[in-house]
Symmetry: C2
Subunit: 219 residues, 2 copies
DNA sequence: CGGGCTGCGGATGTCGACAGTCGTCACGCC
DNA sequence: GGCGTGACGACTGTCGACATCCGCAGCCCG
């Protein structure tokens, strides 16, 4: 007789699991930008019905990972360099708000500590996917620590497009996601200088925007 | 024999039309916060299959108009006063970016003109729904004129929750959506003073946040 | 009288099938 | 040879039915 309680059963629906698999597939580059994602084919591959795949695809569509093409057929999204720059401007506004709220909050010190922890995950080793994950996790943590749930939500709705942007302008030897690039943000928060912190975020986003946009448009 | 080309046919899918009807129903107050939206009932009312209603409901869920309750059953969303305040902080960041980009753009003058036009729709007469529409249309126009498509998208994803917030803290004699409240924003843009414009937006959002949050939490 | 078992009703989850539409391509006519 | 036309295949849109799960009322038993 086991003392420990039985492992909690997986209560997720097929739709959720299919969504997860498809998202991973798209984000891992398993399908390239512009590739057609057919319901029948995917349903066959995943061993589920078309309706289930359909709902997962619709979710991916709202996440911005797939875009409806001709006659509603879904294709893997791609972002133009211009859109990438726009995207990072929005991130700048959002994360700038996060920084302001963190500095203004009483729990600034613990927030800085949490960010330093997230920073440690940003190593140079590990595969590319893991580094993307660590990078985005840091920024997500930044939003979370602001304590503004709506901000977190808004940021997460952009996450899909960010990943598309990163993949799209695949800068494989990206020094962009290095620890050194993010440390100044934390430092500025620790200092408590709002203006300086906002400037750091702005520079970070501008550099990232040019980095990822410029990869496919070296203008 | 008519010279004019035949009126283009309605190419919208049942899902889109169902989505539109359901969104209108929820936003018009036809269903109150917390009300259960059953697939079978709605499918019967709309005369479509459950699957079609299902997809529309999922879309509404991602818009934030409905939230999953017990056992995945969908209920009309409601926002706590705290969440309303958070929401308006995010709007402040987003629309602040819009203002900055408009001021920095060469087409500032035409943007001001367009905003003045939108301002004219903000009259005191008309029913409540029309005034909400005019108010949000003004702010959406603000985002559009920034020329940043990602910003527009991010804002629109918040629109559902904004409407919930407005309905939730239904301030029926809202002087919040008056023309006078919005004119200073346009004026500041026309002046070209970024700092002043951002301050105006901040004040506008703060006032709105307290207005709509305070309606249900008069602290 | 209280607690647990047991149907029952209602809700969502999932599926397979049919219908409608579009792109393509070969065919036949001018 | 060029063009309109029809058939064909592929894909998505839509539907109805079955499976599954949960809450609840009623009943039985201790």
């Amino acid at each position: 007789m086991s003392i420990e309680p039985l492992a909690s059963l997986d209560r997720s629906t097929l739709r959720e699991r299919a969504l997860e698999v498809l998202r991973t597939a798209v984000l891992s580059g398993r399908y390239g930008p512009g590739d057609h994602l057919g319901e029948v084919e995917l349903a066959g591959s995943l061993g589920v019905s078309r309706g289930t795949v359909r709902e997962a695809l619709r979710h991916l569509q709202q996440e911005g990972l797939v875009t409806p093409g001709n006659r509603g057929m879904l294709r893997v999204s791609s972002l133009s360099p211009h859109e990438v720059r726009e995207l990072f401007r929005v991130r700048e506004a959002l994360e700038g708000l996060a920084v302001r709220e963190i500095i203004a909050s009483p729990g600034r010190e613990s927030a800085v500590a949490a960010l330093r922890t997230a920073l440690d995950q940003l190593t140079d080793d590990g595969d590319f996917a893991a580094r993307i994950q660590a990078d985005l996790a840091f920024h997500l943590q930044l939003c979370r620590l602001s304590g503004n749930s709506m901000l977190v939500e808004a940021w997460q709705r952009l996450e899909g497009r960010m990943r598309v942007a990163i993949l799209s302008g695949a800068a494989w030897q990206a020094p962009m996601m290095a620890r050194d690039r993010h440390a100044p943000i934390v430092d500025a928060i620790e200092q408590g200088d709002v203006a300086a912190a906002l400037r750091v975020v702005e520079e970070h986003m501008a550099a990232a925007a040019e980095h990822f946009a410029g990869a496919s448009d070296p203008a």
